[in-house]
Subunit: 365 residues, 2 copies
């Protein structure tokens, strides 16, 4: 039997059981969350997360520059640390290169990674460079919880996937569907430059914004900090796609989730470029024929955070973000008691009907 017969998550479950030993008492979160976490001092947790990018699978140098690739490889790990309510600190980079790889390309890759490291105040502190028949980049990022003398225990210090309770509201830190729309434009041959027809200026501008959103995702570290400081206990970053990522919270918290279709914040430029039916999400009635909404629900790589907690704590986090000049949180749904054998994500359509959502999202094998 080949690994292609299993999904990524099933494979990880099987492998996790094989390496399981007796974890030390300091290890509070192991395999299964955005990051692992262990106590390093009283009221302080250290977290670590690893992500790999493979040429031809996760990126294509025809549509991604070396420099943007470097930014993105680090940014997606920064987002995992942000989703734990932590601050990124030290990155370790393993780079597998063919001997024919141009040095200028690899240097640009590291420049892009350095830009991201400086933007998020973390340091590339080590790694490995090896020869390989394919190009691959693996980043492990270590982060720490913010000082919190008044908070104790992993539940109060970190955001976790497992922390949701029924009745908690589901909030998102920003617009969705921009990155996937940008990727779709790149894959269909988008090129930089003024529009051929001046009447297309608005769409051309929107397209450019989407491509930039795809190339340079901005993880929401400050939002993660605001959520955990306001007492929110549960979060995830939108990497696989909103429905899939809310599904991870459902699995880990053993709850259902209801997303309210007309509350989903679709990236405005995605609406401009991909929504032929206007802004009212009418497409929901035609089974997600609304491409823009589909991108927002399942596109992935948005790197916004989904925070789940009581309405008052989410409101407090939102107010704190607004006071810092960041966008307000947007409530897009609610957690509910599980009604079936497996946790479910459902979408409430404008007509009031509930649509069960398949687990849209990136499949790794």
């Amino acid at each position: 039997v080949a690994v292609s017969g299993l999904g990524e998550f099933e494979l990880i479950d099987r492998l996790a059981s094989l390496v399981a030993g007796a974890p030390p008492p300091e290890l509070k979160i192991g395999i299964g969350d955005d990051a692992a976490a262990w106590a390093t001092a009283p009221n302080t947790m250290t977290v670590a997360t690893a992500d790999a990018l493979v040429e031809g699978v996760h990126f294509d140098l025809a549509t991604t520059s070396w420099r943007d690739l470097g930014w993105k490889a680090l940014a997606e790990n920064v987002s995992d640390v942000a989703a734990m309510g932590c601050l990124p600190r030290y990155a370790f980079v393993t780079l597998a290169l063919s001997p024919a790889t141009p040095i200028a390309g690899v240097e640009d890759l590291y420049r892009g990674m350095g830009e991201c490291a400086r933007a998020y105040d973390c340091t590339v502190a080590g790694g490995d460079v090896v020869r390989a028949p394919c190009l691959m980049l693996s980043v492990t990022l270590i982060g720490t919880s913010a000082p919190a003398a008044d908070r104790t225990g992993v539940e109060e210090i970190l955001l976790r996937r497992a922390g949701a309770i029924a009745g908690d509201v589901i909030a998102v830190t920003g617009p969705l569907g921009g990155s996937a729309a940008g990727l779709r434009l790149l894959q269909s041959g988008w090129r930089e430059g003024p529009p051929a027809d001046p009447a297309d200026a608005e769409r051309a501008l929107a397209a450019r914004v989407l491509v930039e959103t795809h190339r340079r995702p901005r993880p929401r570290v400050a939002a993660g900090q605001a959520l955990v400081a306001a007492g929110v206990r549960c979060a995830i970053d939108v990497s696989d796609g909103l429905v899939a990522d809310v599904g991870h919270i459902c699995e880990q918290s053993d709850l259902d989730a209801e997303l309210i279709g007309d509350r989903i914040p679709i990236h405005a430029a995605t609406v401009t470029c991909f929504n032929n039916q206007g802004l009212d999400n009418r497409g929901l009635d035609q089974g997600l024929e609304n491409q823009a909404l589909e991108l927002a629900l399942t596109g992935g790589e948005d790197y916004e955070l989904v925070g789940v907690g009581s309405a008052d704590r989410v409101a407090a986090a939102s107010a704190a973000l607004v006071a810092q000049g960041e966008p307000a949180l947007r409530i897009i749904g609610v957690m509910q008691q599980r009604t079936d054998a497996r946790p479910q994500v459902r979408l409430r359509k404008p007509d009031g009907a509930l649509m069960p959502m398949t687990r849209g999202g990136y499949r790794h094998f």
Copy 2:
């Protein structure tokens, strides 16, 4: 220009300069040692190291089982942590697999990794599994310094490559050249089973020991602990080969090293299988025609530690190891003031002559 035009270390230097920002004051060791290190509490350092293994470059499934590969991938990182005088704690594993990879193989890989984790009291706490056109395994291992209330500052808490001073003796924790000899046997078609001719029984037994030594390296965590506790400040693990690894200490400490040829502890089974000239290292006089000595000097992957410090501190570490039932340290050379523009490693031959050593060791590109 392709990366093949640069050596691994030159490439890493160039890339390190591109990501360099302003490292935080807690970061005590960045790119360039066996591991990076930062302070996490008073008198406590956290270290992290990353290593990658690529099929066809670092291993071959024709001569390595999945299970041994799993052991080795973790063990080589454990060795880096041991060389810092630290204890391994949490491992993060990125696995790149072709969809056609057999699940049974991947499960065996994780079983072997789990065996190593249990043997060294560390935990596989996370990672990533991705699809790729080639098989690659990247491990990042996080370790911590042992409690040391009486020691302060990175120099006293950790072993570093940079800590040597002229007059320090060079000591090694065990025999060298076993792993490379085992690999050579595997590559020349060694197969398990009784010898065809009973007269070959001794060689057959030695060959089996070498293959096992190659397949299941045993990093010297206890020896690293004994070195740092005895006040030794400088160490490295023998991964690239003794001469190359002592060369790294020379570079980082800006000193020369003299190795004493007839003090080098050649693995006994390597002598049995590869030394046609007996045990007296006579081969030195013929320019390293002695294959066994050559394997010990340049073979690599021994994962013994080289400790460098004052003779009395090295003696104290050795006595502490013997008291724990571990082998004594063996002094094999001395650090000296640099005499040329670049630091040098020289070998003292039995006739008293000094031979400059080329930087033998694994070249990555």
